[in-house]
Amino acid sequence: MCSTCGCAEGARAVIVNPEGAKATSAHDAPHAPDHHHDATRAYEHSHPHPHLEEQHRTIRLEQDILAKNNRLAEGNRGWFAGRNIFAVNLMSAPGAGKTTLLERTIRDLGSELTISVIEGDQETPRDAERIRAAGARAVQINTGTGCHLDADMLSRALRALEPAPRSVVMIENVGNLVCPALFDLGESARVVIMSVTEGEDKPLKYPHMFRAADAMVLSKADLLPYLEFDHARCVEYARRVNPRLELFTLSAVRGTGLDAWYEWLRRRGAS
């Protein structure tokens, strides 16, 4: 484990920029200016607790465990704001259709919005290659054993991607409905995607993820005729976990229901 920044060596994320065809691991790249280390000293004082043995001293820390990630996320947020970039963190279970929706969105909106993509997967550059084939710039983060993206991985990927000012950055998180909910990346909006094949009670089973999201995409709607999927009930469950959730039901393959999603992207991307 790195004593400088605390990155776990075993879980070192590798960033692949297909344009530069160069892989950088955590410590090949210089740390971002905001990737500094907490210089604050521990607030120490001795408690003469009678129940403690003499040679032990208790030190009150009151320190947020996610403080480092949150600080780096704020750095990313400022970086986006300074460039007028709208950054979307896309999260879902594996295979819900994140990359397919991105490919379609890039093909349909590419002429009016500048979209670039950061792809997070445990292994392979396949999703970034799909995005490039669809006509957008993309950088791949391979997390290895890591099950989520964190703010440090994002800040390194951003340096490789160099997205244009006033553009949209789509961040495809690692397929997982649990872990990514806890890690702020500094994104402008969080979108959870669930496909209609996953069952309408997904929001109740993974409430942390649905509560943390700003919008929910119900994907693969073209499959509804073949399933016993109660759409109204799914919406009710989603709203129960998060009454503020914006909802889009669409099929990226058939091209239905995309207008509302695009309208949301345009509106949020412009503000």
Partner: protein, 111 residues
């Protein structure tokens, strides 16, 4: 398994703040609504602390109960999970407690 990243972060932060001092006890505050499984943290703690100044330290997890305030009627009440509704029927709740994820204190061996 985000508990591994969380626990590694605990070990890193303590090592960073206390240098090499031998740590004998670590007390964490974990809210019941924060989505972190305490048993997983315990398991990861033994793995992550091995060979560090925290090796062999006792892990104490203080669980914090959930509390929420209804944005519609203003009532505040205890919540056990994120699916709880207010008595007025509203799901629009502001969480007041239960999302804590903190290192409260550590105990070190004086030399």
């Amino acid at each position: 398994m985000h508990e591994l990243a969380i626990t590694q972060s605990v070990v890193d932060q303590i090592s960073e703040r206390l240098g090499g001092a031998r740590v004998t006890r670590v007390a964490l505050e974990v809210g019941r609504l924060c989505g972190v499984v305490c048993d997983s943290v315990r398991f990861c703690f033994d793995v992550c602390t091995q060979g560090t100044a925290l090796g062999g330290a006792r892990l104490e997890i203080i669980q914090i109960d959930g509390r929420a305030r209804c944005r519609d009627c203003g009532a505040s009440f205890a919540v056990d999970d994120l699916l709880t509704l207010c008595r007025c029927g509203s799901a629009d709740l502001e969480l007041l407690a239960g999302q804590e994820l903190k290192i409260r204190e550590v105990e070190i061996a004086n030399v």
